[in-house]
């Protein structure tokens, strides 16, 4: 072990310290990830970004090409998955269909050395904690989605892992159950004293469940920080879309950010150098004719590319001088007679934009 | 209890037979198709279909070629197989001219169904012999030697002719022999010895002869009690009776008998 390694080890004797490199024929994952005990980290990213590969590498199901993996100061790189103190909640739970809920949860303790009776006692405690004592004898196919998800969490926790991995833990649930299960999962995760890493493509799940977000695109970390910071300061189109903001990159000179391709945007912040400008779709006002009395400095000529219902509002995708998304009420959309191809004028007040250094 | 020295004898016989064949060839080239017994009125022509016991394969093929040379314009096609199977296909309506069986019992299947024209005639006989491993390492010199403990002997099943014959021979010698297997036909029994899986088998002389130096043959006197007659018959529904008669005549002629005895058959 080199001196450098020694230092890193002594610095992070607790929690997760990983640099995951996995080479595939058409894809390379290169991701650094650290987390303190008790912290919940969400890997957020589009499909194919490498989140699941990262999770599999942490669990030992996919070997690392290079990099390292330490948990509480212990190297896990060369350890087979069955020896790692890691619990996994799989996307579709993968509860063993031939075993009851109780035996599913008892499976881990049993493999880790407990005898059948002990393992069942431990499993019963976990099911009780999840509010599933009544379903201990049920086979997975007789459990509802939410119940199965809780059994899966109990099964992963029953081995006493130092690292809990959750792969899209809520994706398999319908919208109504999701709300309820999300709240329960949040409670269990906050009680969990070791590191939890969850993978999701749903920003809401990530923001509710995680203390910290790590945004992954094309196998790399593009941004990380607390959910609120990332929501306010998106640095890629993907995140901006996720959090529902229009995002542009350009060069700031005082109160103006000149975009790399396109017009300038007037902002309230005063900056210089490379910068991002973001504003929500609701800040955009649309007109059929060029507004004459408007004081807005940010006025662009656009064309409606598409319209869709978004809650009780209409969301309009615009192309033209500045491609953007605008939200407006159904009434306003009807009055403006919006339809794909219709020319419109869009304005945004400087006070509703938000600029920050890139 | 003589152990015949087949190898030497075979060489002599081969030499003799080829001489005979040469003679036969020269005979037919000089005198033409007049020699055949069935060619009294007109020349035989067309295809003759012969159903014959598997043990006759080599000799009959030789005779078939000879027949085609003697009678230009004829063609002999064979169907060799187990006599029972052949009898079953003949009674089932297979288009054949001649049936040569390995036992009178199988021929009876055909005659019982009135499928034969005339009475079958015995044209050769086959005798049992003990087939041993090459060089006879177990020093088997009699049928009684086969009952020695530890010796792996295979017999034919009693449902097939060679098995019935072996039973007769054993009974004649007052011997009780427990083989390791009752094989489904004579070739299987012989194969077991050829592959050295069995130490000895009771099979026909002709089979020992055909196996060449892969087995040695041991004669035994009880075999006289179990000699197998090979009958041949013209079939009632023969499509080509004229040529069929001519072929049967060749089989029973002196030339035919020479070829057959070369394969180990006895004269009737």
């Amino acid at each position: 072990m080199t001196d450098l390694d020694g230092i890193t080890t002594s610095v992070l004797t607790e929690g997760l310290d990983a640099h995951l490199v996995v080479d595939r024929a058409t894809f390379r994952l290169d991701l650094a990830l650290t987390a303190a005990p008790g912290e919940v980290v969400a890997l957020l990213g589009p499909n194919g970004a490498g989140k699941t590969t990262a999770l599999r590498a942490l669990a030992g199901l996919t070997p690392l090409t290079s990099g390292h993996l330490r948990l509480d100061g212990t190297r896990l790189d060369a350890m087979p998955p069955e020896s790692r103190p890691v619990g996994v909640v799989f996307q579709d739970y993968l509860l063993f269909p031939h075993l009851t809920a109780l035996d599913n949860v008892a499976f881990g303790p049993r493999c880790r050395g407990a005898n059948k009776a002990e393992a069942r006692v431990q499993a019963a405690v976990w099911l009780d904690r999840m509010g599933l004592a009544d379903h201990a004898g049920a086979k997975p196919r007789r459990l509802s989605g939410g119940q199965a998800q809780r059994v899966a969490v109990a099964r992963a926790l029953a081995t006493g892992p130092r690292l809990l991995l959750l792969d899209e833990p809520l994706a398999a649930l319908d919208a109504r159950t999701r709300l309820e299960v999300r709240a329960q999962l949040r409670r269990h995760l906050s009680e969990f004293e070791a590191v939890a890493v969850l993978v999701t493509h749903d920003p809401l799940d990530a923001m509710v469940l995680a203390d910290r977000l790590v945004v992954v695109e094309h196998g790399h970390v593009v941004q990380e920080g607390t959910p609120s910071h990332i929501a306010r300061h998106p640095r890629t189109d993907y995140i901006a879309r996720l959090v529902g903001l229009n995002l542009y990159r350009g060069r700031a000179e005082g109160h103006t950010v000149r975009l790399d391709a396109g017009p300038a945007i007037t902002t309230t912040e005063e900056l210089s150098g490379p910068a991002f400008v973001a504003f929500p779709p609701g800040a955009v006002t649309l007109y059929r004719d060029r507004p004459t009395g408007s004081s807005a400095r940010n006025l662009w000529r656009c064309e409606v590319a598409g319209l869709e219902t978004h809650g009780d509002q209409i969301r309009a995708d615009l192309t033209g001088e500045l491609p953007l998304t605008a939200d407006l009420t159904t009434v306003a959309a009807a009055e403006l007679d919006l339809h794909p191809g219709a020319p419109v004028w869009a304005t945004v007040k400087a006070t509703q934009t938000h600029a920050y250094p890139a | 209890m003589t152990r015949s020295a087949h190898r030497t004898r075979r060489i002599l016989q081969v030499a003799g037979a080829s001489g005979a064949a040469l003679l036969a060839l020269s005979a037919c080239s000089s005198s033409g198709p007049g020699t055949g017994a069935g060619s009294s009125s007109a020349k035989p022509s067309g295809t003759v279909t012969v159903f014959a016991a598997a043990s006759l394969e080599e000799s009959f093929k030789t005779l078939g070629k000879q027949f085609e040379k003697e009678h230009p314009g004829t063609k002999v096609t064979f169907n060799f197989g187990g006599s029972d199977t052949l009898a079953a296909s003949i009674t089932g309506g297979a288009p054949a001219d001649v049936f040569a069986a390995a036992s009178t019992k199988t021929m009876a299947i055909v005659t019982d169904k009135q499928d034969a024209a005339g009475t079958p005639a015995t044209f050769v006989r086959n005798q049992l012999e003990i087939a041993t491993l090459p060089g006879n390492p177990d020093r088997i010199s009699s049928l009684k030697d086969l009952t020695k403990p530890g010796l792996k002997v295979v017999l034919c099943d009693e449902s097939v002719p060679c098995g019935t014959a072996a039973r007769k021979a054993l009974d004649a010698g007052g011997l009780k022999l427990t083989p390791v297997s009752y094989e489904q036909d004579v070739k299987s029994a012989l194969t077991k010895v050829e592959l050295k899986e069995a130490d000895a088998a009771v099979v026909y002389k002709t089979d020992v002869r055909a196996a060449g130096d892969k087995v040695d043959g041991v004669d035994f006197p009880e075999s006289a009690e179990a000699v197998n007659d090979y009958p041949i018959a013209l079939l009632k529904n023969a499509p080509n009776p004229k040529a069929a008669k001519a072929f049967m005549a060749l089989v029973r002629s002196a030339e035919g008998q020479k070829v057959l005895s070369r394969a180990g058959f006895l004269k009737p």
Binding site: A59, G60, L61, P80, P81, E82, S83, R84, V86, G87, V88, F90, L94, F96, P97, H98, F107, G108, C111, R112, K139, R141, R142, R155, A156, T159 | G82, D84, K105, K152, V154, D157, S159, V160, P179, V180, S181, Y182, E183, Q184, S188, T191, K192, L195, K196, E197, A198
Partner: protein
Amino acid sequence: MTDTLESRPRRDRHRDRHRGRTRTAPIPLLVPALVGLAFLLLPLIALLVRAPWRSLPEQLTSAEVWEALRLSLLCATAATVLSLVVGVPLAWLLARTWFPGRGFVRALVTLPLVLPPVVGGVALLLAFGRNGVIGQWLDSWFGITLPFTTTGVVLAETFVAMPFLVISVEGTLRAADPRYEEAATTLGASRFTAFRRVTLPLIAPGIAAGAVLAWARALGEFGATITFAGNFPGRTQTMPLAVYLALQNDPAAAIALSLVLLAVSIAVLAALRDRWMTAS
């Protein structure tokens, strides 16, 4: 896997049974289907029609018939067990691991399916015979000879029947989700424990189906058995051998024996069907 059905409400079972079924079939499917059915059934019906019913009781009271039947059932079952013990792991290897030449190995495994059984028997003799490649060592070191023994019958039947099991189990394994094994390993199970406690129960219906196929094939095995193990009543003479030899001079007896074999195998398969095969 019986609980698949038991644990579900009856209504579901009823619905499942009729899902995707229609009362009418298009003529281009119906006609060939019926021709196929008739082709398969007619020989069996002919066997029943021409069976010597009057002499049947007398044919079947011989001790040899029951000895052959007992030996057939015993050997077919032993061959199935042997096929399971080595065939299931082989199927796992083919389905779940990668090694150079795996496709070739799979082709080799299926070879006994196309090999004439008699040739298989000769090949077994060349390998395990007294003078065979392996057999000569078995003989000189341990004094074991396999030809002409009941063990030889079991080996010959296993050789012919195991490919059915391997193919069936491998197919089931391929269809089964390998991530269950992964889930088991993340819970601390070694690959073998994962296989034993998770994979095996999951593919049980496929294994059962494969075992039934292998058993049926072993029960009817003739060529490899008679070639490798010979024919001796009570030791190596199974029903198919008895039937074949009876056919040589007593077709009526052969038919009677076949009926017994047919009846027994139908009874066994029907009994197993209810227990195992419905879930698959």
